[in-house]
Amino acid sequence: MASRNFNYTGRMLITQECIDARLSEIYRKAPLLEMEFNWNMKPALNEIPPGAKLFVDVGKDMSFMRFDYGTFGNPVSPDNVSLSELDSWTSASFVVRIVQGGNLLAASKKHTVSIAQPDLKSRRSLIIADYEDLGERPWKLDVYEEIELPRLVFNQKWWDAAMDSSKPLQEDSKVMGMIMPSVFEGMLNFLMISMKADLHRWYEDQTWKGAWIRFARSLLPDNIPPTYDENETDEVEFLRDSSEWIGNVVANYSESKALSSNLINIGGGE
């Protein structure tokens, strides 16, 4: 049964638009979490006393750091914003809290920032690039229903080598041209087949799921995606129709980007 949560605590929500956060990579050291605040993006927050304390709580797995940003009326970045205590140096989750006398006056939702995705101003992003030790596997797609944003995870050895040659993988058109069709296919497989998401209903969704669905449908506007109804849909038929629809979307995506032609032009066929 669907449920809704109501906020009866009087605590205000610090919306995403009020926060500009980025993770700056420092070679072989913990990244820096740089934050700026613009309370004017949510005028209701101006009811908060200027002297209320402003904190940013950052966490990753079993690690946690709190940063004191001074007061709501005069946010000041701490001298040291290095995420030195965090278990991961590639991404972190954070919550902004405004507190007075131990009372929580306002808080943001939990947001995630990544080295590869500094822009938190909007929900335009479809995916973030990240890296991990993947053995000999070059890359993989990391997506599940509750994830904040899907990740394109590169092999750390490959990532480091690319960084050393000043050509980050996610900015390398040859690499991305070869990978993205499979990423797109994997994402749509997840949404349509694993999640059995109703692409019509989810079209308006404001998270990455809706963004991917809108993007996919924009590439194949005249072809309605198949829908799945537990009681009525033939599973085999649905899988076949879905695979066909996904294949057409990915083909149109590749066409729109002229991926193979570009790969040939940049020496991808050597």
């Binding site: 507190v99 131990g102 929580l104 994830i147």
Partner: protein, 260 residues
């Protein structure tokens, strides 16, 4: 002092086989695996452990490990996700984590229903969030105390309450606490736990502090109540006494025991 080596995956499998087949009958732990090149490997930066160390409490153990690793230049980030490292630590001091009783047998706690790791107190269980893997420290005999101590090493009492008791004593309270980063990283909350449940005179935890049917028990404090309170209060910026004073009536039973 001996150089610390860590088990390979095959070594961890051998350790698990020992737990399965021989540990209960009191057989000696296969510490030779830690020197056998087929089952263990060098750990860098080099760490040297005093094999004869006896740890009276989990706090002493946590303190020793944090100190030794810091001396060697090993940060928490370097080991917090390394399953084999923590399995090796337990194997190194196995008789203290899983002592032989008067009948010559050992009690080997296991999680029969856990399809991924039957012995999470000895071999930390991986948990996955998407492609990210980390370790469930709250059930592990060594990782849990290490994390709790590390987060509280600069506090007045260094989490002495949570880390009281021998290495093989492992209450639900430790699991509930060690599994929540918002608890172990909050020195003020750890201070409240001390104020409520620690009997200073007896030098021990008060009876019933973790009994789930008792109002104001520790599990309620670190789970339900904390989750409820964090919607309106910020326990990180409140002193232990301020949090203590703000607790609801169900904690009066424990406050009275202190004479408050």
């Amino acid at each position: 002092m001996a150089e610390f080596r860590i088990l390979t995956d095959e070594g961890v499998d051998m350790f698990r086989t020992f737990l399965d087949e021989s540990a209960r009958s009191g057989e000696s732990a296969p510490t030779h695996l830690l020197t056998d090149r087929n089952y263990s490997m060098e750990f860098l930066p080099k760490v040297y452990l005093q094999l004869s160390m006896r740890f009276k409490t989990k706090q002493i153990f946590g303190k020793y490990l944090v100190h030794v690793l810091a001396e060697a230049g090993v940060t928490r980030q370097m080991v917090s996700k390394n399953r084999n490292f923590w399995a090796s630590i337990v194997l190194r001091y196995f008789d203290q984590f899983c002592p032989v009783d008067a009948n010559g047998r050992r009690k080997v706690p296991m999680e029969k229903k856990d399809q991924y790791e039957k012995y999470p107190k000895f071999i930390p269980r991986y948990i996955s969030s998407g492609s990210e893997q980390s370790l469930r420290g709250r059930r592990h005999y060594a990782l849990g105390p290490y994390l709790i101590y590390d987060y509280n090493k600069n506090s007045e009492h260094q989490a002495d309450v949570l880390l009281s008791g021998s290495l093989d004593s492992w209450g639900d309270d430790v699991e509930q606490t060690a599994g929540r980063i918002e608890v172990i990283s909050n020195k003020n909350l750890i201070g409240v736990i001390r104020l409520l449940y620690w009997d200073e005179e007896a030098g021990s935890l008060r009876r019933g502090y973790s009994t789930k049917t008792r109002p104001g028990n520790i599990n309620r404090l670190v789970a339900d109540l904390r989750n409820q309170m964090k919607l309106t209060a910020d326990w990180y910026s409140m002193s232990a006494k301020e949090i203590y004073d703000s607790l609801p009536e169900e904690y009066d039973f424990w406050k009275k025991k202190r004479g408050d």
